[in-house]
C-alpha cells in the first residue's frame, strides 16, 4: 500500500487562455495534514480544484489511493470518499443548516438517518451547527458558515478532506476553535490537505508542507523543518513564521 494517499505528477491546468499550473508535483501522505502554502496567485486553489475535477488537468496525472483519477468527473471523485470545502465555503444559503448537512450525508435520505454519534461529535466541535440547526444557512455569520462548511465535509467518514483557506476572514478566537477541530479530525485518521495563508494556523497543524509559486511546487518537506528555518521561510514566502 502506498504511503501517499494523493499524488500529483507534472500537472498542468489551463483556464481558458491562461496557463495556471506548470507541472505541479505534490504528495499527500496518508493520515497526515499537508499544508499548501504560497502567495496569492501561486496556484493553490487551482491545484485543489484540479484534484476535484472542477478544472481538468491538461497534462500530468492525479493519483488517489493508487488509482488514476485524472479524467474523472467531480461526482466520481467525490464518490471516492473525498470531501471538499471550497474557498467560498459552498454553503447553500437558502437551505437550513440541517439540509446542508443532509446533502453531504450521501447515505441518508432523511435527517434522522444521519449518524447520531457522529453528529454529536460534530456538535461538540462546532456548537453553532447544533444551535442553528433549523435556521437558513445564509443567515449565519462568516465564522459560523465556515464551521458549517467543515462540519458538512465530515458528516460521513471520508478518506481525504480538502479545505481551501479555512481561516480566511475568521476572528482569531474562532481560528483557535477551527484548529482544535482539525486536530481532532487528524487524530481520527483522516488525511487532510489544506490551503492556508495563516501562518499561525499552518504552524500548529501541519505535518508536511508544500510551497507553491508561479504554478509549481517549489518546496516540499516537513512543516517542522520549515518552521525552524527562517532563511528558508524568507526565501519561499517572504516572511518568517
Amino acid at each position: 500500500m502506498t504511503q501517499n494517499l494523493l499524488t500529483l505528477s507534472g500537472v498542468h491546468t489551463h483556464i481558458g487562455a491562461y496557463h495556471i499550473l506548470h507541472g505541479v508535483d505534490l504528495a499527500v501522505p496518508r493520515g497526515q495534514l499537508t499544508l499548501l502554502l504560497g502567495r496569492n496567485g501561486a496556484g493553490k486553489t487551482t491545484t485543489l480544484r484540479t484534484v476535484m475535477g472542477l478544472w481538468r488537468a491538461s497534462q500530468g496525472r492525479v493519483v488517489f489511493a493508487g488509482r488514476d483519477i485524472t479524467g474523472f468527473s467531480t461526482p466520481q471523485i467525490a464518490g471516492l470518499n473525498i470531501a471538499y470545502v471550497p474557498e467560498n465555503m459552498g454553503i447553500f444559503a437558502d437551505l437550513t443548516v440541517k439540509e446542508n448537512m443532509l446533502l453531504a450525508a450521501r447515505e441518508a435520505k432523511r435527517a434522522n438517518q444521519m449518524d447520531d454519534g457522529r453528529l454529536k461529535w460534530i456538535f461538540s466541535l462546532f456548537p453553532a451547527v447544533e444551535k442553528f440547526w433549523n435556521h437558513p444557512a445564509g443567515k449565519l455569520s462568516g465564522g459560523q458558515k465556515q464551521m458549517l462548511a467543515v462540519a458538512r465535509a465530515m458528516v460521513e467518514p471520508r478518506e481525504l478532506l480538502i479545505v481551501d483557506e479555512p481561516s480566511k476572514g475568521l476572528a482569531p478566537a474562532i481560528i483557535n476553535n477551527m484548529i482544535d477541530a482539525f486536530a481532532q479530525l487528524k487524530a481520527s485518521g483522516v488525511t487532510i490537505l489544506l490551503v492556508e495563508q495563516n501562518i499561525h494556523f499552518a504552524k500548529r497543524l501541519g505535518d508536511s508542507v508544500a510551497v507553491m509559486d508561479n504554478g509549481r511546487v517549489v518546496h516540499a518537506g516537513s512543516m517542522k523543518a520549515l518552521a525552524e528555518d527562517e532563511a528558508l521561510q524568507q526565501s519561499l514566502l517572504g516572511l518568517a513564521l
Binding site: G79, P86, A93, E99, R110, F132, N134, K139
Partner: protein
C-alpha cells in the same frame, strides 16, 4: 437523540469556546420566511375592486384570473427550474404546450362517448388519460430535446436562445405535419361546461377544475421540493451546482430529470390551456411563451414559489385589464413585470447565489 429533535434545543451549555462567541453574536428567529410577495395577489385583487364596481363581476374575473394563473404556473414551474438548475434559457418550452394540447385532441377524439356524457366521472375518466398521454409524449420529446438541442449549448446563452427557438419552430411545423395547420376545436367535456352561481357571480365549472388541478400540481411540487432528497438536491443545485457535484451528485442526470418533468408539466398545461381556450393551434406555444417568461422573471429565476406568485398575478392582471381596458391587456403584464422588478430587481423570491 435523532437529528430532527436536535433542532428543538436552542439552550446549549456554554462551550466557553470561540464558537460560542460567534453563536451569541447572532440572534435570529427560527426559519424566516418572506411573506411580503404573498400579499401581492390579494392586494392586486382588492385594488381593482373599486374600478370594476360590481362585486359579482369582480368575483367572476378573479376566479377566471386564478384559473388562468394556475394553468400558467403548471407550464412555468418546469421552465424556472430548468433555468435555475443549469442556467438554460429554453425558449422552446412552448412547443411542449402545443404538443400536449394536440395530443389531447387526439385522445379525447377517440373518447367522444365519454366526453359527451353528462356524468362528471365519465368526463374525468376521459380527460385523465388525455392528460397522462400528453404528459408522457411531451416528456419523451423533452428528453430528446434536451439531448440533441440543449446539451450542445450548455453555458452559451445566446446559442441557447437561438437554437431553442429554432427547435420550437421545427416542433410547430412537425405538429402541422401530423395534425394539420388549421385550428382544431377542443371542446370541454359536457360535465365541465356551464357555470355555477355564487350569489350573482357566474363561476365557470372548468375554471374551478383548473384551480384544483393547479393546486394539486403545486402541492406535489412543493412536497417533492421540500420533503424529499431529490427536491433538496434540486434546490441546492439551483443555488450552486458546482458544490452539489463536489458533494458527489451527478447534476447532469438531475437536470435531465427536471427537464423531462418540466416538459411533461408543460404538456399538462397545454391540455389545460387548450380546454380553457376550447381550441388549439400550432402557434399556441409561442403565444403562451411570452406570458411564462414574464411569470418566471417576476417570480425570480429558479424559484417555484415565485413562479406561483408571478403566474397568479399575470392571470389576474390579464383578466382585470381584459375587462377594464382590453387594449392594454398585453402591456399590463409587461407593466406589472416592470413594477415588480423596480421593487425587487431579482424577482419576488430571488434565488441565492444567482
Amino acid at each position: 437523540m435523532n437529528a430532527d429533535q436536535l433542532s428543538q434545543d436552542t439552550n446549549i451549555p456554554s462551550a466557553g469556546s470561540a464558537a460560542t462567541a460567534g453563536v451569541k453574536a447572532l440572534t435570529m428567529k427560527r426559519l424566516e420566511f418572506d411573506w411580503q410577495p404573498l400579499l401581492l395577489v390579494p392586494m392586486l385583487a382588492l385594488l381593482v375592486l373599486p374600478f370594476i364596481g360590481s362585486g359579482s363581476t369582480w368575483l367572476t374575473l378573479t376566479v377566471a384570473g386564478l384559473a388562468m394563473g394556475m394553468i400558467i404556473f403548471i407550464i412555468a414551474s418546469g421552465l424556472t427550474l430548468v433555468f435555475g438548475l443549469m442556467d438554460v434559457l429554453n425558449f422552446g418550452h412552448g412547443v411542449f404546450i402545443a404538443l400536449g394540447a394536440f395530443v389531447a385532441t387526439s385522445v379525447l377524439g377517440v373518447m367522444a362517448d365519454w366526453t359527451g356524457s353528462q356524468e362528471l366521472w365519465r368526463n374525468v375518466v376521459a380527460v385523465l388519460p388525455a392528460m397522462l398521454v400528453a404528459m408522457a409524449v411531451a416528456g419523451a420529446v423533452g428528453l430528446a430535446f434536451e439531448r440533441f438541442i440543449v446539451r450542445p449549448v450548455y453555458g452559451q446563452h445566446l446559442k441557447q436562445i437561438l437554437i431553442t427557438m429554432g427547435g420550437m419552430i421545427i416542433g410547430e411545423e412537425l405538429i402541422k405535419v401530423i395534425w394539420g395547420p388549421q385550428q382544431i376545436p377542443l371542446a370541454l367535456p359536457e360535465g365541465m361546461r356551464g357555470s355555477l352561481l355564487v350569489g350573482e357571480a357566474a363561476i365557470e365549472k372548468y375554471r374551478l377544475v383548473a384551480v384544483v388541478v393547479g393546486l394539486a400540481v403545486f402541492a406535489v411540487l412543493a412536497w417533492t421540493l421540500n420533503r424529499t432528497k431529490i427536491g433538496l438536491l434540486i434546490r441546492a443545485g439551483v443555488q450552486d451546482r458546482e458544490m452539489v457535484e463536489s458533494l458527489g451528485y451527478r447534476i447532469r442526470r438531475l437536470f435531465v430529470g427536471v427537464f423531462v418533468v418540466g416538459s411533461a408539466l408543460a404538456g399538462l398545461g397545454g391540455v389545460m390551456w387548450g380546454l380553457y381556450q376550447q381550441n388549439v393551434i400550432p402557434q399556441m406555444g409561442a403565444q403562451v411563451n411570452v406570458l411564462i417568461f414574464i411569470v418566471i422573471i417576476i417570480g425570480g429565476l429558479g424559484s417555484t414559489g415565485g413562479a406561483l406568485i408571478g403566474a397568479l398575478l399575470v392571470g389576474l392582471m390579464a383578466n382585470y385589464t381584459g375587462f377594464l381596458a382590453p387594449k392594454l391587456a398585453l402591456f399590463s403584464n409587461i407593466a406589472l413585470m416592470v413594477a415588480v422588478l423596480l421593487w425587487r430587481p431579482q424577482g419576488v423570491f430571488p434565488v441565492a447565489n444567482r
